[in-house]
């Protein structure tokens, strides 16, 4: 079994690490100071300039097909890149990406109108599925779309929508046939421009994630704005959600590694009762436990990514990685803060911010409870055979 990275993987990883250290980490203080001011913590123009600088190096469309100008590096490489990007509190992503369902289910007209502008960074999308009464259980959505001539009329409300404040169009999931269960043709996905009449309101949160509430009051959408087929919405929604789970675990690895390194450095230099605290068993155990859990997450994540690259169903592995990784990073940040003592609680260091930021990873893209459910169901229904390699 070969666990080593290829030469290309190593070079890409090193390059992203340098980019993070040289271009992003110097912005950390600013990002901490600007909390709540911009969705990314830095002015949108500067954020864009960083994306364009990376684009010049070819870091663009990491998972976007080449025919759209992307680098299309595959899932393992994407995981390695996310691990590097997770090392900084600056919430940076390379440009040139597009939601998987938008890419795969759009028709030619929609590609011109939505996919290409999103890849080029000229338009911003948001994925609007969750509702006040339908989060983990998307089959409970209440937003409706009723056919009126050659338009659909959408009414309802969406909540916790990432990029919902900045987006100029939304992928909106609405019930189009009450007679059918959502999983069997009752829900449809629509591409709805903000200009068609929906509004948004930011939701203040405890961390850097700033989602929105979206309101649809008789929003009229032309019938050619259906993404995929009428009634296909539930399946599209599940595909969108599934794509990102192990990426959360990948980010968590980078964040936790940075935090652990900060804890190690601090433990070596902080002296109490005549000895560096690194020599105290209580501290050593926290460091060791963190290292074990980070390593475990790393391999869970890379395995899920590898399965995706093999075009195998990786939903079970993605849930393992997401559940373990999001809990791991919450434990590691807590230990890092504890080791730093009062310093960890101040706003001088990014630790307290991370402490607040990572909490949401146990909630979004499928809560802990949903991941447990998926894993248990796979075991109980016999989808997974323990002790086998496949």
């Amino acid at each position: 079994m070969d666990f080593s990275l290829t030469e290309e993987q190593k070079l890409i990883q090193q390059t992203v690490r340098q980019f993070v250290e040289r271009e992003l980490m110097p912005l950390e203080h600013e990002v901490l100071r600007n909390e709540g001011r911009y969705p990314t913590g830095i002015e949108p123009e500067r954020y864009r300039a960083l994306q364009l600088k990376a684009k010049e190096l070819g870091f663009w469309g990491i998972n976007t097909p080449e025919e759209y100008g992307g680098a299309n590096l595959g899932s393992v490489m994407t995981a390695l890149i996310q691990m590097e990007l997770g090392r900084t509190i600056v919430p940076f992503s390379f440009g040139g990406s597009v939601d998987n369902i938008l890419l795969h289910y759009s028709n030619e007209k929609q590609k011109q109108e939505y996919v290409i502008p999103v890849i080029e960074g000229k338009r911003i999308s948001c994925f609007a599925l969750t509702e006040p009464g339908a989060g983990s259980d998307p089959s409970a959505i209440r937003t409706t779309a009723v056919k009126d001539g050659n338009h659909w009329v959408i009414n309802g409300q969406k909540v916790f929508i990432t990029h919902g404040n900045e987006a100029d169009f939304a992928m909106v999931f609405a019930v189009t046939d009450r007679e059918k269960p959502p999983q069997r043709g009752g829900v449809t996905c629509f591409l709805v421009d903000r200009a068609m009449g929906w509004t948004s309101r930011p939701i203040p949160t405890m961390g850097g994630w700033s989602p929105a509430e979206l309101f649809f009051d008789n929003v009229r959408v032309p019938e050619d704005h259906v993404l995929g087929e009428v009634g296909q919405g539930f399946s599209l929604g599940m595909q969108w959600i599934g794509q990102g789970r192990w990426l959360i675990a990948a980010r968590a690895v980078g964040t936790a590694e940075r935090l652990l390194q900060m804890a190690i450095d601090y433990a070596r230099q902080r002296v109490t009762f005549g000895k560096p605290i690194a020599e105290r068993q209580a501290i050593q155990w926290m460091l060791a436990d963190s290292a074990v859990e980070i390593q475990a997450t790393k391999w869970l994540t890379l395995h899920a990514a590898w399965k995706a690259d093999q075009k195998q169903d990786n939903r079970y592995e993605a849930s393992l990685a997401k559940l373990y990784g999001s809990n791991m990073v919450n434990r590691v940040v807590d230990r890092a803060l504890q080791i730093h003592g009062g310093m960890g609680y101040t706003k001088e260091l990014p630790i307290e911010r991370w402490y607040r930021d990572v909490r949401v990873t146990r909630i979004y893209e499928g809560t802990d409870e949903i991941q447990h459910y998926i894993i248990a169901r796979a075991l109980l229904k016999g989808y997974v055979h323990l002790g086998t390699w496949d």
Binding site: E7, E8, K10, L11, I12, Q14, T15, Q18, F19, E21, R22, E56, L57, G58, F59, A71
Partner: protein, 261 residues
């Protein structure tokens, strides 16, 4: 033009705490994360800039080191260097400045270079003597501490960093040029560079390829002897001057005594 850049793989200065082996008195290089010397990255950037401005030129990176140094050279290729040469031989272990320069010079000589770039010093050993020794072995002029370099006809012209500004220094080609640290912005490898790095010419040479005798290099050929190693003295506490009307005078005297004024 045939341009060369000498590079080195070193323990990652960002993650590795430098340790000296008390027995060999050498820097510990095994079991640690190794990278292309960050100083060399800017030297490569300078060489690429010149190559691109000249046109019709080829840039080759050359390194002496163990097989692992291949990775540092691949990185140089990913950054945009055209070709790489690794000189690797077990007899080279323990080479001092003289042995290193002799080896690099022997490999460079076969190539008839027009211009050889070196960093002023490596970020691990910091002797800063290898470039001068290479120039000596090859009988070439050496231009040092360049912050800007141009080729005008058959001359190399540099701006040489001084304490107060710069001097313009020129020499006939071929020549060895050392780059002043911090004078050029480091560049990143590009995705295209990374993906094509493996396809670029890469050659590996041994001592016999260079016609060198193992007794001239490595431990056997070393003329330097490290007699002892020790920790640098901890910095003493500063002096606090209480202003009794003459503080400025005392400070000025202090600065003058230390030739800081």
């Amino acid at each position: 033009m045939k341009i060369f850049v000498c590079v080195k793989q070193i323990p990652d200065p960002n993650t590795v705490e430098s340790k000296l082996d008390p027995a060999t008195k050498r820097l510990v290089r095994t079991g640690v994360s190794l990278v292309l010397d960050p100083g060399d990255e800017t030297t490569i950037a300078a060489a690429i800039k010149l190559r691109d401005s000249l046109g019709n030129s080829e840039l080759t990176a050359i390194s002496m080191g163990p097989a692992s140094a291949q990775e540092a050279l691949r990185r140089a290729l990913a950054m945009g260097v055209d070709r790489a040469i690794l000189i690797s031989d077990s007899a080279l272990a323990g080479s001092d400045v003289l042995g290193t320069a002799r080896t690099l010079a022997a490999a460079l000589k076969r190539e008839n270079p027009d211009l050889i770039f070196c960093s002023t010093e490596s970020t691990d050993g910091y002797t800063g003597m290898v470039p001068g020794a290479i120039a000596e072995f090859l009988g070439l002029p050496q231009l040092t501490f360049a912050r800007e370099i141009n080729v005008e006809g058959t001359k190399a012209v540099i701006k040489r960093v001084t304490q107060t500004g710069y001097e313009v220094v020129e020499s006939p080609l071929p020549a060895v040029v050392t780059i002043a640290s911090g004078s050029f912005e480091a560049i990143y490898p590009t995705m295209k560079g990374i993906m094509s790095a493996r396809k670029k010419p890469f050659s590996q040479l041994s001592l016999s390829d260079l016609g060198l005798d193992p007794s001239q290099v490595g431990e056997a050929g070393a003329r330097e002897q490290v007699l002892s190693i020790g920790k640098a003295e901890a910095r003493a506490a500063g002096q606090i001057i209480k202003d009794e009307g003459n503080a400025a005078e005392i400070i000025a005297d202090f600065l003058q005594r230390h030739q800081l004024l």
